[in-house]
Every structure is written in C-alpha cells, then in structure tokens.
C-alpha cells in the first residue's frame, strides 16, 4: 500500500487541480463575451474537475463500493455534460444570443441561408434542411 504521506500529496494535488478548474470556470464566466464562449468555460470543471476530485476521493477510500459509485458519477456526468452544452448552445444559436462579429467563420449560417433560399424555412426544432450543393465555403 502507499504510505500516508504520498497519499496526502496526491490528494492535495488532485483537489487543487479541481479547485483551479472551478476557479477558471468562474473567471471565464465573467470574462468571456458571449453565451457560446461561456459554455466552453463551463464544461471544464464539469469534466476534468470532477474526474480529479473523484480520483482524490478514491485514493483516500479505496473500496469497491466507492470505485463503483464514482465510476457511475463520472460516466453519468460525461454523458450528460455534452448534452447540456449542446442543448444550450443550440438554443443560443437559434435565439441569436451570440456575437457574430467575434466569429471568423460561420458555416452554419451559410447552410441556413441556402436552405431558406431553397424555399423551405429552417425547421425550428429539428435539424436545418440539408445543404444541397457542395460543402459550404470550405
């Protein structure tokens, strides 16, 4: 088994990593200019922070039950965090909560424009109609 000192150091490092991620997420929320950029800041503690802190708990309490529950938490979080991000991002794009002047390229609006020219309005809930011709402006 690993000695108590080493275990303590590992715990401290992992907790500090997680704390740093939460801190960076908070500052990112303050500093970033629009919803989509803030989403990027938000996904960080959700994944790396939680994994680091879960590892810290597992190091301090190495039983099968703990491992199992931590695995479940991480799998759950890893599956749901992208879904949340995608739902929020899509709602943000559709309700124009983004600053287009900060985008250096926007291929989604290209395909939406083309779809509108084809006569079909973009479906509000499903995916926008497929681009017909070549890859957008790529």
């Amino acid at each position: 088994m690993i000695s108590d000192d080493i275990r303590e150091i590992i715990t401290v490092v992992l907790v500090l990593v997680s704390a740093l991620m939460c801190f960076a997420a908070g500052v990112g929320l303050m500093r970033f200019p629009d919803v989509l950029s803030r989403l990027h800041a938000a996904t960080k503690p959700q994944i790396l922070g939680l994994m680091a802190i879960a590892a810290a708990v597992a190091v301090n309490n190495a039983t099968i039950a703990t491992f199992a529950l931590l695995t479940a938490i991480i799998i759950f979080q890893a599956l749901t965090a992208p879904i949340t991000a995608h739902m929020v991002g899509r709602a943000a794009y559709r309700s124009d909560h983004l600053r287009r002047d900060l985008l250096i390229r926007d291929e989604l609006s290209d395909s939406v424009d083309r779809a509108e020219q084809d006569g079909a309005p973009p479906a509000p809930h499903g995916t926008p109609p497929a681009p017909r011709d070549d890859r957008p402006s790529g």
């Binding site: 099968i64 529950l69 250096i104 497929a130």
Partner: protein, 194 residues
Amino acid sequence: MSPESGGRRISARSQIVLFCGLVVLWCLLWGQFTVLSVVSGVVLAVVISLLFYLPAIDLSGRINIWHTAVFLVRLLVDIARASLDVAWLVIDPRYKPSSAILAIALDTRSDLIMTWTAEAISLVPGSIVVDVDRQESVLYVHVINVADDDGLEDFRASVFATEKRLVMAIGSVDDVWRVNQPNELTRSVRRGRN
C-alpha cells in the same frame, strides 16, 4: 424529428448488450454486485425498456479492445490538455475573443458513431457541437480561440482523427473502410448521391 433511416430491425445481440449495460449501471449505483442488486437491476431494466421505448440503435457488432483503449486514453489526454488550454485562456490578459462555427462532414453513416463523435468533441473543452445534420452526417462545431484558417483546418483534422479512432474501436467494417479512404474521396461520393 428526423425521418427514420435504416431498418427497424435490431439484432438480438445488441439488445442484450444494451440490457446488460443497464444492469451494470444499476449495480454501479449500488456499489455492490450481489444477487439482490443484480436481480433488482434486471427487473428494473425490463420495466424501463418496456416503459420508455426508444428508437432502436444498432451496434455494429464489432469491437476492437485495443483501439477502444487507444480512444479512451487519447480522449483523457485531450480533455486534460484542452482544459489547461482553456484555463490559461481565461487567465491570459491578452486574450482576444475570436471563434468560429465549422461545418464538419463526417465519413460515417452510422448514427451511433456520429453521436459518440459529437459527445467526444463536446467533452473536450474548446469545442461544442451546436447543431447536427443527421441525413448528411454534418456536425456544426463551435470552436473557441482560433485565429486564422490554419487553426480551423487543424481543428477539422483533429475531429476527423477522433472519428477515425472511434470507428476503429467500435465501427462497422464498412465504416472502417470508409475512414481509411482519403477524406475528399468519400465525402464527394456522398455529396453526389444526394
């Protein structure tokens, strides 16, 4: 939502795999693998799959352990590296916001691979899937902190690399063939089909 593509049939094997996944998740939640938790897990899995019927997904039935491990390890490394990148970006006082939304046409035709690719690139901080075009397998990805076209093409290449690792791990034989072709070839073939 979108119209159905592919058949309604689902092989018994992939159904069993998914069912076992539910039971294992239940056991993980309890933190024990006793007879009681397995039996209650099986009962609950039956009830859930009857009550909350979802569109059938078809596993390819092929899995490569080595490539799966490569995919998972690489995903972890990517997450760690990208997290530090974005954390640095937050603190960097010279940060000038500049992002982009890219349309990325994947090679695969499978819903499952597309979903997992989207999950994987959304999990890595710095890129989020904003919208999906299921018929054409196009992901619309929002990327943060890209300054020029080179950065964009680098990112596009990294998404293709993720897709390729994933297909090598659990994709069907057809998809493996597809990702091993030069990208331009398979994509133009698919565009022509429509």
